[in-house]
Symmetry: C2
Amino acid sequence: MARLTNCIAMMNEGIERVSQIIPQMPAVEARLCRLMLMVGSSLEEELEFKLKPHKLNHSDFLTLMILYSRPDGSSTPGELCEFATQGATNMTRITNALVKRGLITRGASAEDRRRVLIRITAAGKRFVQKMLPPMFPRVSAMFADFNDADKRNLSRLLGKLAHNLDQLDPDTQP
Amino acid sequence: MARLTNCIAMMNEGIERVSQIIPQMPAVEARLCRLMLMVGSSLEEELEFKLKPHKLNHSDFLTLMILYSRPDGSSTPGELCEFATQGATNMTRITNALVKRGLITRGASAEDRRRVLIRITAAGKRFVQKMLPPMFPRVSAMFADFNDADKRNLSRLLGKLAHNLDQLDPDTQP
DNA sequence: AATTCATATTTCACTGATGAAGTAAAATGT
DNA sequence: ACATTTTACTTCATCAGTGAAATATGAATT
C-alpha cells in the first residue's frame, strides 16, 4: 500500500538528482507534470476498477454519461467523439457495444442522412441511476480532507493548466 | 483548438444537470475528478506527442528516466515495475526494446542470481541529455502563469489527493 | 536434502485503441 | 445539371498493453 506516495517520494529524489545534472531543467514544473500524470492515472485506475463490475470501460462510461447528461438524452457520433476525446473508429465500437446492451439506440437523422442519432434508452437511464450512487462514497473520500478553499483552488489551478495546455497543443513538436 | 476548455465547459453543464436528477451526488468532488482525468490525459497526450519523434512511449521513457535518475544508473525489473507502475510482462518488453537500442544493459546480479540488473548505458545517458532539454520550454509554458503560491498549492493538493487515493485503493469494489 | 518462496521471462488469449481505406450523403463550384 | 469536395461514419487490419498461467532459476527455510 501507499503505492502512489511511495512513487512520489522516489520521483522527488529522482528529479532532485536530474536537476543537478541538468540545471536548466524547470524542476518544479517538471515535478508538477509528473505529479499530475501519476495522480491522473491512479484516478483512472480507480475509475476503471469501479466500472469493471458493470462491464464498462472509461470511454464506454463517459459516452453513456454524456448522453445521460443531455437534456434530450441524444447526440451524434461526431459530437461524442469530440467530448469523449475519442477517434471515430473507437466511437463506432463503443456505440456498437452500448447498442448491443440496449443502453442506447442508433438511428438515422432526418435532416442530414449522413448523421447518426444516438439516444440513451430508458434502460440506459435506469442503468446509470443504479450504478452511479455506489461510487459516491469513494469520490467523497478522495476529497474528504479538502476544505472549500482547497476545492476551489484545485479547480482553479486545473482550469488554468487546462487553458495553457490548449494554447500549447497546436505547436509543432520539438 | 481550445479542446480541453470546450470539454470542460460541456462537462460543467453535464454535471449540473445530472446533479439535479441525482441530488445526492457529490457534484463538486465528481467535477474535480473529471477535471483531473481530463487534464491528466491531455498531459499524457502531450507527453506522448513529444516522445514520438524519439520512438519512445510513456512507459519506455519513464523506465529510462528512473534509471537515469538513479545515483548508480541501475535497477532491477521488479523495482522498475513498482515505480513505473507496470506489469512484469510489460517491463520485460520495455527492457527488451531499450536493450535492443543500446540504451540500457541487462545483466545478472552478483549477490542474488535470480535478479536481473538493468543499467543505463553511456549512450542511454547521452540520449536522455539530448532529448530532455527540448521539452523544457513546453513544460515551462504549461505553468507560465502560475506564481509560486499556485505551484506550492497545486503540489500540496495533488499530494493530498494522492494520499487519499492510496488509502482508498485496498477497499473492495462497490 | 527437500520444500517453499522469490525473481524474472515466456507464451497466449484478449481488450482496447488506431490508421487507412471505403461508403454514402450533403455542400459547393462551375 | 453535374462534377468535385467535404463531412460523417463504418470496416478492416493491426498493434500496444494486460492478465493469467507455465517455466526456469536461485535463495531461504525446515
